[in-house]
Amino acid sequence: MFRAKEYKKVESLEEAYELNQKRSNVLVGGMMWLKMGRGQKGTLIDLSGLGLDQIQEDDKEFRIGCMCSLRKLETHKGLNEYFDNIFRECTRHIVGTQFRNGATVGGSIFGRFGFSDILACMLVTDAWVELYKGGTIPLAEFAARAYDRDILVRVIIRKDGRKAAYITQRNSGTDFPVIACGVARKDGTYYFSVGARPAKAALVVRPVTGESLAEQARKAAEAYTYGDNMRAGGEYRRHLAQVYIRRLLERLEQTDHKAGEDAGRPEPESQKSGPWVAGQEPEAGRSGPAQEGV
């Protein structure tokens, strides 16, 4: 456990920002990871008095304060209804209830940890990060950035109509994930996220093609690099990613199918001509943006 010279519960983000410019000072989130550090810190900067521990929802977006606990993310009705429980799924395996009552969204996202379920999950949504000085930028851009001394104030998730699914595999319950996969789809575009590779999660955007879901999953999984650590080898992770991405794609298809049935409508387009076969030309209007890569 580290030691600190001072503790300051700040009254404004400006005060926090000023204090945070000194390298020995540190912003305190839930302290779950921070406490594992050693050595001497300067001032512990506490944002818990700024009302940033809530999730606000309106018809356009969710605004998640940096001090919001993972437990609130897990149990927030609006978020989980809109995103088909992916936030419950990405949090419920994280250690235990007591841990999730303490750990914060800001700490998880700002840390950009390789093992982070939260980052891996949020990347497939239309998520943005509100920085105190750096403005509001896409989460994918923030995740790829180097650490700096700015303050992550909120994560903003826009309600853009994406359907999303998330899954992880762990060697034992409550351990760090061996692999963490998220997939979302909107119109003709898939959004993939694979974390715990063991490198941090990254976003890959690909068009929905006429290929089989297995082939699309293979191509998405191949867009990432994988490495070894004490939990799993790189080749195993590559294989898992491919399998889990396919399952998530299937889940999204099933969700569409069910929604179609529920509404008494014909099957969705993606179900009509399936299964897709490799080499089949994509349907008109099914091509997505050209952006691709980690």
């Binding site: 600190a4 395996h93 250690v95």
Partner: protein
């Protein structure tokens, strides 16, 4: 620095350093039910309630509890004894080191979840490690405790 908070219904004052954690403060105040286990935020032995919510006292800055309410097993002794009897009857405690943390979390779960099934119980209590029982006897005891007539 000095903090004031409510510990088991009683207002207390403590002198702390900026990096003191709540675990050390409550033990210093005589609440020895709160155990120091893994110190890596994993085992749940140090579970206390902060404003009624279960948290890990080993990972909670003492400075953050200023003006707030902290409850340990000593503050809920009647309910703890009742649950403890179920644990004893089912062989749900052997060395007993994890029991205070487990009991605090079960009591919190009882308030928070409405008629949880076994999967929900397992999930809620996943952060309470026990190296003796293998969990089966604890889960039997908790199931019976939750199903008791009150």
């Amino acid at each position: 620095m000095e903090i004031q908070f409510v510990l088991n219904g009683r207002r207390v004052t403590a002198r702390i350093t900026p990096s003191t954690v709540l675990l050390d403060v409550v033990r210093e105040k005589g609440c020895y039910s709160v155990k120091r286990g893994c110190e890596t935020s994993n085992c749940g032995l140090c579970t206390v309630w902060l404003d009624g919510m279960p948290v890990l006292s080993c990972s909670t800055l003492a400075a953050r509890v200023e003006g707030r309410e902290v409850t340990t097993l000593e503050g809920v002794s009647r309910q703890a004894e009742e649950l403890g009897l179920f644990l004893a009857q089912e062989g749900g405690e052997q060395c007993g080191f994890c029991s205070p943390g487990l009991i605090m979390n079960v009591l919190a779960m009882e308030r928070e979840l409405d008629h949880p099934d076994q999967d929900a119980v397992r999930e809620y209590l996943a952060g309470n490690l026990c190296r003796c029982t293998g969990y089966a006897s604890q889960l039997r005891a908790i199931e019976k405790y939750l199903g008791r007539e009150v």
